[in-house]
């Protein structure tokens, strides 16, 4: 499969300064890092220039963060580093005393850590945290620093900066925290800012704001090293891109070149795996070498046969402050046999709550849900129990949905036993469990593995296998891929579409990732503050969004094409 | 072999004033009462009518003289004149009579009462300096009995006008010291009575106390107590741990006092259980080397006492009876065989399917010290060899006080002592129980009319020699019937710093006397 032809080749290269205009600020040559005896960074070289952004991309565990931390001398315990050269504006970073490192950190290099939401001290005021580099490097007096912190917060676009400075991180939303962290990193106007995954876990709208912010400091002449595994994010900001894989840089070039005309297979593989409207109805991963795959035929949706009908469902929660909050507000929808109904919406908009009501795991405050046209959500639990085999769920976080004591085999045979065709013997249960595992691309050797020892993608697949075991006609998928990186995500999405095509399963598919939703859904519900504000055919919603919120969501969505 | 007095004066220069720090063991809840722990401290504050000297002779104290009527039924005491309680009221005949009435009729002091019962009849003030005590029957031991600390004379005015709390914490007497402050849990601070005039005839100097204060500390832990002396924080300590006694003898003035009365001896339950059979009781007595056990447990400091009825410091002690039941396992085995107890599994004897089990209940920490418990453990091991299965059951003070182990169904043997200066203690312990008058002090539940009669005769016999013979006979009866088995006398071990002279012990119960003591430079 080739790169999507729709990728816009024009880009906006012209806006960026000419690649060779400025001298290198940072030069890294042949950097190697070991943890114990394992080498995790295997001799990489790159350069960063003032006013330009170098992006390091690559899948999880490829060594991006380790490289970044090494640049500020904080590789970590038990680590060993060697490099032919690490040079920051004439200063040799390979030989620095602890004391001189301290004077470089924060002043010459600003660092935004990967885990933004927990990178501010929860117990201290935001203003103090932002001003900390100022204090550490002897900038101004206490009062001036406080003022400066407010200015910085204002500069990174934090509304009501005086108030925010007096609040503590837990009182701020994720986006505000991320911005405060950036404010702290650029407080002393360092020559180099390293931002490690500055936008993961942010809603698309907030993500856009953060990227704008970094773009702004780039225009002021700061050199930025951006680390991300999200290529569409990179496309928006980077001038150069280094693709890392297993500790090596496999491809390095201008953003445009790497994202639109990759030379390395791996880069291509990454690009392909990104779900979007263009990938609908296709496999995201190339079929294994040697197998040829015919065009897949999508099973038609049976519009006459609604399997789930939610009618005017509302849910009110009483908070610890004794205030009632309507979390799901008059939600109605139908899910038809063989259909995928996508639900999108920002965090806290009531998606999971809706899913749990649909599964009758949570009682609705008002309204009800029908299953195959029969009462379902408001019948006694004893009566609903036999019906449960018809509807399954894949949890957002599969790991916590497994009893940590049970190995995969037991999890599956337990699920099999609840189905309509419970296995009659141990041997049969085992055999069927193995078949399930094979279906999701695992094998019998995983039967005895504890869920904890599985990788994220494997866990997700076991969760799917469990959902499939009772052979339900309906599966509720709550953010099934949010925790996975693109390649594993692609693997999982491919499996789900395959199952739908083969078995005619219906999905209620929840995600906040518009690309994923667009890739899998036939129809889409958009939720905001508990209400469905828009619903319709996937293409209609994406192409002609009616509701202003949906429109905002879509414009904020970064596109590869921006590179 | 008691030596109550360790002061050899001379050498260094005496000093007037100073504070004696005395480390005692137990803290009583009130200063005055019928517990020996109370007698120790109230002896400092309250004076008695008469006292006893080292030879056992009765000597004047508040009473300068006394006459006994020929029928032995009335005692007329002449009081020292001009003596005042520390509240300023006079120590007159009326006050003495009131005190006797308090003890006998108003639960003033149960130990005082039980010593006089049933002989006491009434007390009457003849004039301010003469008081007459009338008895029901002649009771020559009466004088000796009232030398005990329980008979301290208190000011009736104070007693009646003050609250119970004040009477409990600061009894008013005419003694050499008075209570200044009681820091509960720590110490009682005694200050000298500057107007003291009523020292006993046994006093070593005339006049108020030489030191200004006595800090009467309570230090329950033996190691700390002895250490307080070795580090110089205390000048006198009570109950030196026996393992430190040799050291104390070298470095300090040691005083060992054997308290007269019933020694620590095992009272055997004759009413229920294995010890209803005399042969078994005798076998029990023969079955263990009590002498060696006492020697080991107390590191040779406390003597063995073979006489269960009275100890060697008590007048009319029967030394002959003390020789009975030497350690003889062969004899013990023979007696048990004769009684029908046969050796069974693991060497424990059985009879009719019942094991020869002895529940030995003892007051842990308050009747027996740790050393005493060691003695029990040694004995237990030896008794095992003759086929007794002895179960040691420690009773906490709470259990003891609550009377949990006081009925015949609760134990087979229990060690107990009774400090008393007179052989008349035999009556307290061995008076038979009758419906009308149960004797709960008779822990062997042993009713023996012959024994009762002998003791009663002895108590009323006015001829001292005859009385002595009767008391000795009574001891022999107790021993012959093996209703109690002797172990060791209640012994007090004091150590006094070398620079403190003239600390001596009162004869009847061994309370330390600080009114004559002085420091030297």
């Amino acid at each position: 499969m080739t790169a999507p032809t729709t990728l816009d080749d024009t880009g906006d290269d012209a806006a960026a300064p000419a690649p060779d205009a400025a001298p290198d600020l940072l030069t890294v040559e042949n950097l190697r890092v070991w943890f114990g005896t394992t080498e995790v960074v295997k001799g990489i070289s790159f350069t960063a220039r003032p006013g330009r952004c170098l992006a390091i991309v690559g899948e999880s565990g490829s060594g991006k963060s380790v490289t970044a931390r090494t640049l500020v001398g904080l590789t970590g315990a038990n680590s060993r580093m060697s490099a032919e050269r690490i040079d920051l504006a004439g200063v040799d970073l390979t030989r620095q005393s602890d004391r001189s490192w301290r004077s470089i950190r924060g002043r010459d290099i600003g660092f935004v850590l990967q885990d933004a939401l927990v990178s501010l001290d929860q117990l201290r005021r935001v203003g103090d945290e932002v001003a900390e580099p100022l204090r550490l490097h002897g900038w101004g007096n206490k009062r001036r620093r406080a003022e400066r912190a407010v200015e910085l917060l204002d500069a990174v676009g934090v509304p009501e900066p005086e108030l925010r400075a007096r609040q503590r991180p837990y009182e701020l939303s994720g986006g505000l925290r991320q911005r405060a962290l950036i404010a702290s990193a650029i407080a002393l106007d360092p020559k180099l800012v390293i931002a490690d995954e500055p936008t993961t876990a942010l809603d698309v709208t907030v993500q856009a704001q953060v990227l704008d912010l970094l773009a702004a400091s780039k225009t002021r002449g700061t050199s930025i090293i951006l680390i991300s595994h999200d290529l569409s994010v990179v496309a928006r900001l980077a001038d150069e891109v280094a693709v890392m894989r297993r500790g090596e840089i496999v491809e390095f070039g201008t953003a445009h070149q790497v994202l639109h005309a990759p030379t390395h297979d791996y880069t291509q593989h990454l690009l392909d795996a990104i779900p979007s409207e263009h990938t609908r109805g296709t496999r995201l991963l190339r079929p294994p070498e040697g197998t040829t795959e015919g065009p897949r035929t999508r099973r038609p949706v049976d519009r006459d046969r609604p399997v789930v009908q939610a009618r005017n469902v509302s849910k009110v929660f009483r908070g610890p402050d004794k205030i009632n909050r309507t979390v799901v507000d008059d939600v109605s929808f139908d899910l038809y046999a063989g259909e995928t109904l996508g639900i999108v919406g920002e965090s806290g908009s009531g998606k999971t709550t809706t899913a749990r009501i649909t599964l009758a795991l949570l009682e609705a405050t008002s309204g009800d849900v029908l299953l195959h046209g029969q009462p379902w959500s408001d019948i006694p639990t004893a009566a609903s129990r036999p019906l449960r085999k018809q509807i399954g769920i894949i949890y957002q976080d599969p790991l916590s949905s497994f009893d940590p004591r049970w190995p995969v085999g037991r999890i599956l045979s337990d699920a099999l036993a609840t189905g309509s065709r419970p296995p009659s013997s141990k041997a049969e249960a085992q055999e069927r469990a193995i078949r399930l595992l094979e279906q999701v691309g695992l094998s019998d050797k995983h039967l005895t593995t504890a869920p904890l020892r599985l990788s994220g993608g494997q866990r997700q697949r076991v969760a799917i296998a469990r959902a499939l075991a009772p052979e339900p006609g309906i599966i509720v998928c709550d953010e099934p891929v949010s925790a996975l990186d693109v390649s594993v995500q692609a693997q999982v999405l491919d499996l789900l579409t395959e199952l739908q095509d083969d078995l005619g399963v219906s999905y209620l598919f929840i995600s906040h990732d518009l690309g994923v939703i667009h890739h899998v859904s036939d129809r889409i519900l958009v939720m905001k503050s508990g209400k469905i504000i828009e619903q319709g055919d996937a293409d209609d919603v994406f192409q002609q969004p009616q509701h202003p919120y949906t429109q905002r969501l879509l414009t904020a969505l970064p596109q590869l094409a921006q590179a | 072999s008691s030596s109550s007095g360790a002061a050899e004066s001379g050498g260094s220069t005496p000093v007037q004033g100073g504070t004696i720090t005395y480390a005692h063991v137990q803290e009583p809840s009130c200063i005055f009462g019928g517990w020996i722990q109370q007698a120790y401290i109230s002896r400092q504050i309250l004076d008695g009518l008469v006292t006893e000297d080292d030879n056992g002779a009765i000597k004047p104290w508040l009473a300068t003289a006394w006459t006994v009527s020929p029928d032995g039924l009335s005692y007329t005491f002449t009081l020292k004149s001009g003596v005042k309680f520390t509240d300023g009221t006079p120590v007159d005949a009326a006050a003495i009579a009131w005190n006797f009435d308090l003890w006998e009729n108003h639960s003033g002091n149960a130990s005082a009462k039980v010593s006089m019962d049933p002989y006491y009849k009434s007390a009457k003030a003849l004039d301010p300096t003469h008081v007459k005590i009338t008895l029901n029957k002649p009771f020559p031991q009466f004088l000796r009995l009232i030398t005990q600390g329980y008979y301290g004379i208190q000011s009736p005015t104070a007693f009646k006008s003050r609250t119970r709390q004040e009477n409990c914490e600061k009894p008013i007497g005419s003694g050499a010291f008075k209570v200044k402050q009681w820091k509960r849990g720590e110490e009682v601070v005694l200050v000298k009575n500057p107007n003291y005039t009523s020292w006993p005839a046994t006093a070593k100097h005339h006049g108020p106390a030489i030191v200004n204060e006595v800090d009467w500390k309570f230090v329950a832990d033996g190691v700390s107590r002895y250490a307080s002396l070795t580090t110089g924080q205390a000048n006198v300590v009570y109950q030196v741990p026996t393992s430190n006694w040799t050291d104390a003898q070298q470095k300090y003035q040691p005083i060992r006092f054997i308290t007269p009365g019933k020694p620590v001896s095992f009272n055997l339950n004759t009413k229920q259980g294995v010890f209803t059979d005399k042969l078994v009781r005798q076998a029990f007595a023969y079955g263990a080397d009590r002498k060696a056990a006492v020697k080991a447990g107390f590191h040779g400091v406390i003597p063995y006492e073979g006489n269960p009825a009275l100890d060697q410091a008590t007048p009319d002690y029967n030394a002959q009876a003390a020789q009975a039941y030497p350690f003889d396992q062969a004899k013990a085995n023979a007696l048990l065989d004769r009684a029908g107890w046969r050796k069974g599994a693991a060497g424990i004897r059985t009879k009719n399917g019942k094991r020869l089990t002895v529940r030995l209940v003892y007051g842990s920490g308050y009747v027996l010290t740790k050393e005493g418990e060691t003695v029990l453990q040694i004995l237990q091991e030896q008794w095992k060899q003759t086929g007794f299965e002895v179960k040691l059951i420690p009773a906490t003070q709470a259990e003891g006080f609550s009377g949990k182990y006081s009925s015949p169904s609760t134990y087979d043997a229990t060690p107990e002592y009774w400090c008393n200066s007179s052989p008349a203690v035999l009556w307290i312990v061995w008076r038979p129980t009758t419906k009308a008058a149960p004797n709960y002090n008779n822990e062997s539940f042993y009713n023996n009319d012959q024994l009762a009669k002998t003791i009663q005769q002895a108590n009323t016999e006015q001829d001292t020699a005859k009385a002595g013979q009767l008391y000795q006979k009574a001891q022999q009866v107790v021993q012959d019937n093996a209703v109690s088995i002797g172990l060791y006398p209640q012994t007090s071990l004091y150590a006094v710093a070398k620079n403190l002279k003239n600390v001596w012990l009162e004869k009847s119960q061994g309370e330390p006397v600080f009114s004559d003591a002085y420091f030297t430079k």
Binding site: R69, V72, D98, I104, R105, G106, R107, L113, D115, V118, L120, D121, Q122, L123, E132, P133, L136, H137, R168, Y170, S184 | A23, E27, S29, C30, G33, W35, I36, Q37, Q38, S107, A110, T163, Q165, C168, K183, R184, G185, E186, K217, D221, V223, S224, A227, S228, T230, T231, Q233, Q397, A398, E399, F401, S402, G403, K404, Y405, S406, Y440, N441, E443
Partner: protein, 298 residues
């Protein structure tokens, strides 16, 4: 809750086997025998033991609300006075021990956590060792070493400052080990937190990172446990007061339990319960001071 604790104790003791009047007579005479009804009658009358139990209980409860804890059976004075006189030494001892333990625990953890292998091992071994030390053993050993063999401290120091040093150490050392273990675990975790790394990327020194950022987070579990530790400290105080012949509630309690002095035992339980409630309030306050996240809640 406080009243419930005292009532429960009072009732439990009333229902305990054994007669209170007998116990009192025996306490007064140092015996352990039975007494005749005639001998017991005056005692029963004086303390009202002859009244039905519910009446006695209601009477006690009524007193409680008037702030009257009753009169000690054995000391013949108000329980408030019995306890009042002994409260200060115990409070000084327990609170002093708590503070000392904190200082020790914090100092040792901050100095040894995540240092070189040897130093860290030393710190954690010290904590594990001291946390396993029984109070009484520490007490006896300290007494023998520092008061008897090397007479630096008084053996029978009573309640003065110098005499408080050893009892304080007796209570504080095991507690410091315990708090230290908890703080160490937490500090180890916190030092791995991203916000700590962030602080380092700003150029902060290791010591500053520990003191300014990490410590505050690391002490939170130990603060929570301090409320619980109070119960352990009171238990420890009973033992410590016993060894060092120190006045205090612990000694009174043991005696009162032994002599079945019901009002005194109940009174002490009441005081301990109050102390427990107060301590937990203080813990909450301290927690909220250190962790403002809790302030908004509840």
């Amino acid at each position: 809750m406080v009243i419930a604790a005292a009532s429960l104790t009072f009732l439990a003791q009333l229902l305990m086997p054994g007669d209170r009047a007998t116990a009192l007579m025996n306490v007064q005479t140092g015996q352990q025998k039975r007494w005749t009804a005639a001998e017991l009658a005056p005692v029963n009358k004086e303390f009202g033991f002859d009244r039905p139990l519910p009446v006695q209980y209601l009477h006690y409860l009524g007193g409680l609300f008037r702030g009257d804890l009753g009169t000690s059976y054995t000391q013949h004075r108000p329980v408030t006075q019995v306890i009042g006189g002994q409260l200060a030494p115990t409070l000084i001892l327990t609170l002093g021990a708590l503070v000392t333990a904190w200082v020790l625990a914090v100092a040792i953890t901050v100095l040894t956590v995540k240092r070189t292998r040897a130093v860290s091992a030393l710190g954690s071994t010290w904590e594990a060792l001291t946390a396993s030390l029984p109070n009484y053993w520490v007490g006896v050993v300290l007494l023998v070493v520092f008061a008897v063999k090397l007479p630096l401290f008084p053996v029978i120091g009573g309640s003065n400052a110098w005499g408080t040093v050893l009892p304080l150490a007796t209570l504080a050392i095991p507690l410091a080990g315990f708090l230290g273990q908890v703080t160490r675990d937490e500090l180890e975790k916190v030092l791995d937190q991203p916000f700590v790394t962030t602080a380092r990327t700003r150029g902060m020194s290791d010591t500053a990172v520990r003191l300014r950022h990490a410590l505050r987070h690391a002490v939170l579990p130990a603060i929570t446990l301090s409320g619980w530790a109070l119960g352990a400290l009171v238990s420890g105080a009973i033992i410590t007061e016993n060894i060092f012949a120190r006045p205090g509630i612990g000694q009174v309690l043991v005696t009162a339990v032994n002599t079945r002095d019901v009002p005194t035992v109940s009174g002490i339980v009441l005081v301990v319960a109050v102390a427990y409630v107060v301590a937990n309030l203080l813990v909450d306050v301290a927690y909220a001071l250190v962790d403002p996240r809790l302030r908004g809640r509840s």
